[in-house]
């Protein structure tokens, strides 16, 4: 079951890569086609995914060969937090999203100390801001909707 799933995912990736290579414009006379390597790689990926599927076909189908993972919820949760966190930089700048996400991630990793969680709201954005945006001089991402730095006057 698991090898089937892996084979299918890679088949889909190969088809997508072949379609992408097909869209690359043809070469001018005397030049090599810019799609030659992507096309060859996509073809090879397709071949490898077929080998995976053929290998899976030779094995008995057992839905139980994908073991239950007690951490699935936490992993997906962390990935969603990561997606929302990185996107919120564009909307609210660096400081506010970091202040909100820091205690959530700490709690997800098992931190239960309430004072520690509260402290992270201030300390995490402050420490990262000082190191990266003040000391190293990186220009912070500006929030399109609201930026706490504008409000603080930083």
């Amino acid at each position: 079951m698991r090898i089937y799933a892996e084979g299918l995912v890679f088949s889909a990736l190969a088809v997508f890569a072949l379609w992408g290579a097909y869209k690359i414009p043809a070469a001018y006379p005397g030049e090599t086609w810019a799609g030659i390597v992507p096309f060859s790689a996509a073809l090879l990926l397709g071949t490898l995914s077929v080998i995976m599927l053929v290998g899976a076909a030779g094995q008995p189908v057992d839905p139980a060969d994908i073991p239950e993972n007690p951490a699935t919820g936490k992993i997906i949760g962390l990935f969603l937090i990561a997606l929302v966190y990185q996107y919120s930089f564009r909307l609210f700048g660096y400081v506010l999203p970091t202040a909100l996400v820091a205690p959530v991630v700490l709690a997800l990793f098992g931190m239960r100390h309430s004072i520690g969680l509260l402290a992270s709201v201030v300390l995490c954005p402050l420490v990262f801001y000082v190191i990266f945006f003040k000391l190293l001089g990186v220009f912070p991402p500006h929030g399109e909707i609201f930026d706490l730095l504008d409000w603080i006057g930083g």
Partner: protein
Amino acid sequence: MEIFPALLSVITDPTLLFAIVLAAVVGMVVGAIPGLTASAAIAMLLPITFYMPPMFALAFLYVIGKSGRYGGSIAAILFNTPGTAASAATQIDGYPLARAGKAGKAMKVATISSIIGDLIGDTLLVAGVGFIASIALKLGPPETFAIYFAAFVVIGSVIGKSIVKGLASAVLGILVAMIGFDPISGAQRYTFGLFDLSNGIGLVPLMIGVFVMGEVFAQIEQRSTLTDEVEENESSGNDNALSWKEYKPCLPHTLRGGLIGAGIGVLPGLGSAIAAFISYGEGKRRAKNPEKWGKGALEGVAAPEAANNAVSGPSMAPLLTLGIPGSTIGAILIGVFQIHGIQVGPTLFLTQKDLVYQLFACGMLGIIAYGVIGYFGASKVGQLILKIPTNVLYPVIFLTAFVAAYSAQGSMFDVTVMTVAGFASYLMRKYDFNVAAFVISFVLAKGAEETFRQSLLMSDNGALVFVARPIALAFLILGLTTMALRMRSIVKERRIVLKEHGDD
């Protein structure tokens, strides 16, 4: 001979010495933390090096890589948890020694063997790299492409349990590298009209995602499935002194391990873990006391430690002379060269020879630095690791990954790349795909494509140019033979397993 003036210039530069000592400490601590690797630390610190002088940045990250390999042995011996994959072989004899109250003795053997192994690797690197570079300068595009091809096949097929999954990972790395403008014709590839994709996928955010964010996902899974995180050695013994009489039997294993590690280090993608296990197996086979190996033999610590550290230096040879990283650390170091506008490859020895030898000198001084700190303070580092709360450490690493990915170019798209790459690398590791093959192939792909297309342009017979030139043909055969041998060994292993199950 270039190494001596380089050593002198580094020794007389207090800022470089500071970078070396700091890197030795950072690498040791990071390597000793189970789950964290030197690759992760280097990837995370990579954007910061943009704000440092090139030599300081290179020395700092290169020594972290060396020291991190050694640091893995601290966790392996003291906590029965290898800090890095390379130190898993050290654990076999290291932890029984610690249980017997000889943790300090085992650490000293590990430290001395690491220093000797690493110095063997670096000496061979310094002696041979100029020669390799002079040969590399004479290679044409077909030969260079054939070397790339051999590297792809070796990386994809030798590491991991499945050749198909290894090769699929390598091909995926090539496809991801193809995103963006074609450097030769300017045609857009896999951009789908999105402006952000037109410049391609950045090496730095990809590395941070794969090595740092991927590990954070793996850690949250591990925390949910494991009950005790670290098994602390509770032995009350204190037989920690090491005499010459005790180390003397270890010396042949150390020297052999150093040579094995150096040999494996030159081959792209194989890495420290394979070197350590081969050295351990070879050491046990030749040992006068093989019955003691696995139960707490000092030689069983010396052999793998010398080998896994000896990989470090020679793995820089293909990186610096051909632009082919021999390890994941090498792949990340390419990012440092890129950030500072330094082109790796054979011409590096013509344009930046002093910088190359200064880097080697920093590496050698780094070995001495982590050796001295480790010999006298490894147990202190072990105690420090126990005090680091992982439920704070990994959230902090999570937050650092975002700001580090952003800092590289001030690009929000890089942060998105890092996030997606992190989750994808976690899935790849979980389903036994080969992350090292993916990353190294990503780094190699552009150079391989360029030489492939140059070869086709200069050829009158199309792809036959690779067969018509003997050196190119030799490398193509080398790659295919390696894959065939690997397939044979996998089939052999499966037959043994099936036979054992049949006997049961």
